[in-house]
Amino acid sequence: MFSKRMVTIVGVLILIVLTIMLLTITAQHRSHPNILTRLAINCVSPFQELVSSSIRTCQQIWKNYFSLVAVAYENERLRSALNKAYELNNRCLETQRSNERLRALLEFKETNKAFQLVAAEVIGRDPSYWAKTMMIDKGEADGIQKGFPVVVHRGIVGQIIEMTGHFSKVLLIIDQNSAVDSLLQRTRVRGIIKGDSTRSFFFEYVLRKGSVKIGDMVISSGLDGVYPKGLRVGTVSEILRSNSGIFQEIKVTPYVDFEKLEEVFVLFKPPHPAIQQ
């Protein structure tokens, strides 16, 4: 009765009409989920949840990893910056302290205009416990000679015992072989300062009758031919008067901290021609 082609066309037309009707209805009226819809959602959603949570976990791990890498890089950068800041701060402190020392030395130079002074830097110390010497960076080329006194603004340091072209060795007054003819500033009592240790030295050959008190200042007498008169040596810290003997035993604490010496002055006894020029 009907050809196959006719049936197909009619079928397609019916399908189109049904499609339009269905879509029109469902687009306008969203029905409540029925049992089949619920079943479909309940079957698929757990898998969706599983996959989604796995992805989120992976994402979180990935993100955390990258943020950790970033933090590590930042940490490295900050450490480097901190080290630089420490270094800079240290340099500033060093400059400040050096400035203070140099100011003190300058002040000393200003107040001792009678002497010819050459500033020198300490470049080495004697490692031995028994010998108290140090090296400075000025030598014969700077006009330094054997026996020249070495001082700082706080007081006497020692004397030159050896020198080369640009370096000299200084025997410190705390060395056992060192001696300085000195006197007490207050009573003018004379004696000899002899080296003992880094912390103190002995003021020897002071007569028992001589008036000595703890805290008295000891200065150079200028009679030894090495150190000019009036340079500070130390203060009396201990007095021992024995029943026998004609001398007192006096301990003197030096003004100079020999452990922390960095810059010194070399005094020219007879003014050097080079300095005079």
């Binding site: 687009a27 989920p33 819809t37 479909a40 698929v44 969706q48 992805i55």
Partner: protein
């Protein structure tokens, strides 16, 4: 048995495109991954067995989608019928045809969606055009591979069934 496999595959594709694909931002607007499956079934499976399967898959998609109910079912059904009709006239295994089949299927589905959304004007908007282009490009890049993979699975399955029968 093979239909159960295709049903499972359809479910996997649904889960992938509703969970993994949205997380991959560089993909942008990706096409419906069920379309290659629908096209494959329409080219290789009889209507009476293929249609119920794609209707079930479409139903599940409708359940998960917020659009008009039945939209996926109808889209898949029409795609199935159109491509099924086409395969009687053209060689369905041609690689170039496969590429364009997926792309055209994607565009047809999108037209359905836009028309159903009630705004025919939006069909010609810039967003729609961008969406069409993006989805069509992705469909052409990956759709053909999916169809080839499905054909390989089908041939392996056929061989295995033949061995089992003999």
């Amino acid at each position: 048995m093979i239909y159960l496999f295709y049903f499972g595959l359809g479910l996997c594709l649904i889960i992938i495109q509703t969970t993994i694909i949205p997380f991959i931002y560089f993909l942008g607007r990706f096409y419906d991954l069920i379309i290659p499956l629908v096209l494959f079934l329409s080219a290789h499976r009889p209507v009476q067995k293929g249609i119920p399967l794609i209707l079930i898959i479409g139903f599940i998609m409708d359940c998960l989608s917020g659009g008009a109910f039945g939209l996926y079912c109808i889209s898949y059904m029409w795609l199935y019928l159109v491509v099924g009709g086409m395969t009687t006239y053209v060689h369905a295994h041609s690689a170039i045809l496969l590429i364009f089949m997926v792309a055209v299927g994607t565009v047809i589905e999108n037209v359905f969606f836009i028309v159903t959304a009630g705004s025919a004007a939006s069909l010609f908007s810039m967003h729609a055009l961008q969406s069409f282009i993006s989805q069509s490009i992705w469909a052409m890049i990956t759709g053909a591979f999916m169809l080839i993979a499905l054909e390989s699975i089908q041939s392996i399955w056929d061989r295995w069934s033949a061995e089992k029968r003999s």
